[in-house]
Amino acid sequence: MLHTINKSPFEKNSLGTCLRLAKPGSDILLIEDGVYSVIKGSAMESKVREATKEHTVYALGPDLKARGIEENRLIEGVKVVGYDGFVELAADNDRVQSWL
């Protein structure tokens, strides 16, 4: 199952709920303001680092770039994909849940 999150974790609780309800082994893709979750050294780091142990965590490259977040600032283990990677993740998983 693919979970997408488009909210900043500093503003809304979507990431927290997703992590509470996503089955271990799920794919999690951060898009739009959701990409702010993956900055190293932020208050979210330990939570996201923990999540990378149970899930595969992706962030959408074009949204990282728009927001000026360079790849060297990302928490280790987070993978970056483009829109084509987003499509692949949606196709490869059986279903998609958007945590709005």
């Binding site: 488009n6 898009i31 739009e32 303001d33 074009p62 483009g82 829109y83 084509d84 987003f86 499509v87 692949e88 949606a90 196709a91 279903r95 998609v96 958007s98 709005l100």
Partner: protein, 130 residues
């Protein structure tokens, strides 16, 4: 593979419409089919032809229309949500005694059943919203 695309926010205020557009384009480029794009909630505002965004910015309504033309996409605006928000075609205008319509080229107004049908017929349903 067939994707159904649900867009729940209007253009510009939230990034949802942009993300939906970019996803739809990428899916088409990879050879997937788009069963339908359904506009619900404020998403119906993607379907007004009366917008004039700044010249140095993207024109989201036009981008949907062009994509639809190129790939023969079915862009459906939910009638109930559209009535609440003032998106009307000629028929709707006549039905409700309005002296103008504002639907954009390439969009059509129809019922919520089209959303459910899209969910049934698509292999994956993608929700883009706030």
């Amino acid at each position: 593979m067939k994707f159904g695309i649900l867009v729940n926010e209007g253009p510009y205020q939230h990034q949802a419409a942009d993300t939906a557009l970019n996803f739809t384009k990428a899916a088409l480029q990879k050879g997937h089919e788009i069963e339908r794009v359904f506009f619900y909630h404020d998403g119906v505002n993607n379907g007004t032809r009366l917008t004039t965004p700044p010249q140095d910015d993207r024109n989201i309504v036009k981008l949907w229309g062009e994509l639809a033309k190129e790939h023969d996409l079915d862009l459906v605006v939910c009638v109930a949500a559209a009535q609440r928000r003032g998106i009307v075609d000629q028929d709707e205008a006549k039905r409700h005694g309005k002296n103008a319509d504002n639907i954009a080229d390439g969009f059509r107004i129809s019922g919520l059943g089209q959303l459910i049908e899209m969910g049934i017929k698509s292999d994956r349903l993608m929700v883009f919203g706030d």
